[in-house]
């Protein structure tokens, strides 16, 4: 069987990639995608832990389902906000959306 540490490493790497993307990308949609990557990294962790922990329950897998559901809701609201923003700004580049500073 594949050892737990492989899954946790995969989760950590995915989370790192997601975080890097969220911090460096300038396109609002790309940032949202990077955040999804972070959430899915957490899901990998939850499911692997739930499977490998001694006397484990299904808590981790249930949590992953909830994370997926919440992420879907967040994406729906997020895309609606980005769409509304695009109508007014004609761009989704976060560097150009800076009416307010300090």
């Amino acid at each position: 069987m594949i050892p737990l540490s492989y899954y946790l490493t995969l989760g950590a790497l995915l989370f790192g990639v997601g975080m890097f993307g969220a911090l460096t990308r300038r396109n609002a949609i790309a940032i949202l995608m990077a955040v999804e990557l972070m959430l899915n990294a957490v899901n990998v962790n939850f499911i692997a832990l739930s499977r490998y922990l001694p006397n484990s329950t299904l808590d981790g897998q249930v949590f992953a389902i909830f994370v997926i559901t919440v992420a879907a809701a967040e994406a729906a609201v997020g895309l609606a906000i980005v769409l509304g923003l695009y109508r007014n700004f004609k761009t989704v580049n976060v560097d150009e959306i800076n009416l307010m500073k300090w």
Binding site: M19, V35, L53, G60, V62, F63, F66, G84, N88
Partner: protein
């Protein structure tokens, strides 16, 4: 294991939430059938909040754990739910006239507002990291919508986007922290997490990493420096009533989540997180107050002021004793009234033609509307912490708790910060009383807004003059949270 699942009885324990959710859905459905200006939505929303409050009173008594420990009814939960419902009531009263000025769909606004309150109530009752997380997201996603409610206003769009991106990123960080904690303890139940940690090696790096991630995540939610970057922009861009809701409701919910998780699940490593929060508290107070001095926009100034106040609230958290935490709860309650009052004044100045969110817009108010100006002075005094207002009492107990536990330097920094804050709060009072308005001063008169103002003034003064019962209330609310 925790108590067995009993659908009938358990649902009864969650009756306030069931009622609020039902009412929110009814408001949402009716908003498509009834024209906006009939006042139905407002009436139904107020009824929803008042009804939920009445159901909370019915829950007073022995602590209950329902849905296999997912949902707790204890004094702590009831205290925070009362705080949330009061803030929602404030926001509804302020919105009734304001929404017509901004020309936004009324029914949807109230429905989303009630859903957000529902999420907050689940946070306060969260006995399990899963239910706490779902509550947190229900609240946040609703607030993303509220922040962007002015679809044609570019600032509102920008506020929504910034809040959404920051909030989504934060949830990822919090979730990773929860996953680590789950991996270490094998449970998501908050009480069991603490019980498992007792037998563990507490210097485990994974545990510390989980703590740091949770600190960063909740730091974002309560807007502690250095995680505050989005706050001023969101406060300025969103509708003023939404800003008020963010300041009083969502911050209180963040504090509730923070207390539930840190005091409930990882109290064993309090020594470690107290150091982290000591730094956060000092940074938050100082940066908030210093940057507030430079603001010309009232909403932005109040944003930095709310950051500074979170810094004060964190003092109680650093201290971590029963005295400290109860002072913290009392401060959250007091802060709610004085800040809601200050935002109600900003809304008071919003008319068809004037946006009213600049500090200059307050010029000459004392001559035209002396009573309203006097109310504003009371809120400003309270925000500064001058007796006989509630803000003084709140700070007195917080600083007292810090000194009693030997955090002298923290109290000194907080006192210096209070002196700094005097400058920018009193500048608003100065503008109202000393400056002449260039044009005629116009205000929006609306009975519900007056009601909100009177309620806020009464709260601020009563808690300032006679704080005893409220302190007892805060102390009693710790039952179920601390051992």
């Amino acid at each position: 294991m925790t108590a067995a699942f009993n659908p009938g009885v358990d649902t009864l324990h969650a009756l306030p939430e069931v009622f609020l959710c039902t009412m929110a859905i009814i408001v949402l459905i009716l908003s498509f059938a009834v024209p906006d200006r009939r006042g139905w939505m407002e009436g139904l929303s107020v009824a929803a909040v008042v009804g939920t409050g009445a159901l909370l009173l019915w829950q007073l008594g022995e602590p209950v754990s329902a849905f296999s420990g997912m949902y707790l009814v204890d004094n702590f939960a009831l205290f925070f739910k009362a705080v949330f419902l009061i803030s929602t009531l404030f926001v509804i009263l302020m919105s009734i006239n304001y929404l017509q000025l901004e020309r936004v769909p009324v029914g949807e606004f109230y429905a989303v507002l009630l859903f957000s309150t529902l999420g907050m109530m689940f946070i306060a009752s969260g006995g399990n990291l899963l239910s706490l997380y779902v509550g947190l997201e229900t609240m946040s996603i609703s607030i993303y919508v509220l922040a962007g409610f002015l679809k044609r206003d570019r600032k509102s769009n920008e506020a929504a986007l910034k809040y959404l991106l920051m909030g989504a990123f934060t949830s990822g960080v919090i979730l990773y922290g929860i996953a680590l904690l789950y991996g270490l303890t094998g449970t998501l139940d908050i009480k069991q997490t603490a019980a498992t940690l007792v037998q563990m090696n507490l210097s485990n790096p994974a545990l510390l990493l989980a703590m740091v991630m949770l600190t960063a995540g909740f730091g974002f939610k309560i807007a502690a420096v250095p995680f505050h970057m989005y706050v001023p922009d969101v406060y300025e861009g969103a509708m003023t009533t939404v800003t008020a809701f963010l300041a009083v409701g969502s911050e209180a919910a963040g504090v509730a989540a923070l207390l539930r998780v840190f005091l409930g699940a990882i109290p064993q490593i309090q020594g470690d997180w107290a150091v982290l929060f000591w730094i956060l508290s000092v940074l938050t107070m100082t940066v908030g107050n210093v940057l507030a001095m430079a603001q010309r926009n009232m909403k932005r100034m109040l944003a930095y002021s709310s950051i500074a106040h979170i810094g004060y609230v964190l003092i109680g958290f650093v201290v971590g004793t029963e005295q400290g935490i109860s002072a913290m709860l009392l401060y959250v309650l007091i802060y709610e009234f004085m800040t809601a009052g200050a935002f109600a004044m900003v809304i008071y100045l919003r008319t068809e033609t004037v946006k009213g969110d600049l500090i200059e817009d307050f010029a000459g108010l004392a001559r035209v509307r002396p009573v309203a100006a006097a109310a504003m002075v009371i809120f400003l005094m309270s925000l500064t912490g001058i007796p006989p207002t509630a803000g003084f009492v709140g700070k007195f107990y917080l600083f007292g708790a810090a000194i009693n536990s030997g955090y002298i330097w923290l109290a000194v920094v907080a006192a210096v910060n209070t002196a700094i804050s005097l400058f920018y709060y009193m500048r608003v009072a100065m503008v109202m009383y000393m400056l002449e308005s260039p044009g005629p001063v116009s205000v929006s008169s609306s009975r519900p807004l007056y009601a909100a103002l009177i309620f806020a003034v009464l709260g601020t003064l009563i808690m300032g003059i006679y704080p005893g019962p409220f302190l007892d209330l805060a102390q009693a609310s710790l039952m179920g949270l601390m051992k």
